[in-house]
């Protein structure tokens, strides 16, 4: 499997935050979700890929090429959707589009028109009059209209109504029918990922917790519930985010198989986690 994105030992230092030793790959033809609590580093990673900020060390390769050395070449094939859309507030959508489209050699105006219609965007309206959701849709229409192979989105679904969110996921799904394309999006609405992501990369405090196929994660991680008497230092090292309550405890474990073997079905209950559960327990974890 060739990778559309390869990130190796990426490091970025800020005053009060550091992205450390981030490595993960995204193969052609797949969708990856980047999840993590606010401030974990998701937007930083996306900015580093787009070279909006400079990395301190490490490697980023897109389409097999260094993202800085081949910057212009790569960007002609990347469609981007940012959290804060960078367009001229006082111009209309058409005018903003006209500025953007002239720089893409593969710009397909008919396709853009179709998306604009499908997303119900009024191209004559001024950018500043749009709701957040509409602004996102506009960016998306732009990103999809120049035959881009790599679509990168930063929090595309926050601010969107649930109906359009589903539509968006369907659009992604359609897009990925082409094995030469790939999608990376960061989100903290994990339910969107549950449905459609192939890979999930979880980042916390600037570290990658895991970057794996979603299926594998949901199979090997589980929520364990049992009586407090089962807890002991050795056992606790298998858990994350242990929450004790009056009648027992619950915790997250990446070692479902081992826990099953150790305790069996009768002593503990093991449930399949949602990505949200994982994020929740991991965020409250003291590093266990």
């Amino acid at each position: 499997m060739e990778n559309i994105l390869e990130i190796k030992s990426l490091k970025k230092v800020y005053n009060n935050f550091t992205l450390k030793d981030v490595s993960f790959n995204l193969p052609y033809g797949y969708i990856m979700g980047l999840i993590g609590p606010n401030g974990a580093g998701k937007t930083t990673i996306i900015k580093l890929i787009m070279n909006l900020i400079k990395r301190n060390s490490g490697e980023i390769k897109v389409f097999g090429k260094d993202n800085i050395k081949s910057e212009v070449e790569i960007k002609s094939k990347i469609g981007f959707v940012y959290d804060i859309p960078p367009f001229y507030e006082h111009l209309s959508l058409s005018q903003n589009k006209a500025i953007v489209s002239q720089f893409y050699s593969d710009w397909n105006d008919q396709l853009f028109g179709r998306y604009a219609k499908e997303f119900e965007i009024n191209l004559k309206s001024k950018f500043k009059t749009l709701s957040r959701g509409m602004k996102m849709k506009f960016q998306l229409a732009l990103a999809l209209s120049h035959n881009a192979y790599f679509i990168i989105l930063d929090e595309p679904t926050s601010g969107l109504d649930p109906v359009f969110r589903r539509e968006l996921l369907e659009i992604f799904s359609e897009l990925i029918q082409d094995e030469k394309k790939a999608i990376l999006f960061s989100t903290h609405i994990t339910s969107d990922l549950e449905r459609i992501a192939d890979f999930v990369t979880f980042i916390k405090d600037g570290d990658i917790v895991f970057s794996e196929s979603k299926d594998l994660i949901l199979e090997s991680w589980g929520i364990v519930k049992g009586g407090k008497e089962l807890l002991g230092t050795e056992v606790e090292s298998l858990f994350h985010g242990i929450r004790k309550h009056e009648y027992g405890f619950e915790a997250l474990t990446p070692y479902v198989k081992e826990i099953k073997q150790k305790f069996g079905k009768t002593t503990v209950s093991i449930e399949k986690p949602t990505l949200e559960d994982i994020m929740f327990f991991m965020t409250n974890s003291n590093g266990g």
Partner: protein, 125 residues
Amino acid sequence: MKIIISNSSENPIYEQITNQIKSQIINGDLQEGETLPSIRKLASELGISVITTKRAYEELEKEGFIDTVGGKGSFISRQNKEFLREKKMKVVEEKLAEAVSEAKMLGIRFKDLNEMLSILYKEEE
């Protein structure tokens, strides 16, 4: 082909797919040579990850239920009729074993169990 997956089931999704395809093959609902949708199409239709459908197809191929020809897609492979029959037999055998162990637990004797079986069989006709 009919596939219905449940997110809340104990079974991982890829297993639900393989199980359903297997039973449809065994039942004859899916015929030899029939084309299966591409892994991407199936994933898109079911709203699940491509990796899941890929895994399901890989399992089915490993067990000899389907063949994948690169560039052309996946098909139901020529099922060994004996092999299929054996598989079906095994299913019945397992169900009978279950009935036997339940009967034993309740203290039902072989004679009574046998009688039950005769009545049920005749009923079906």
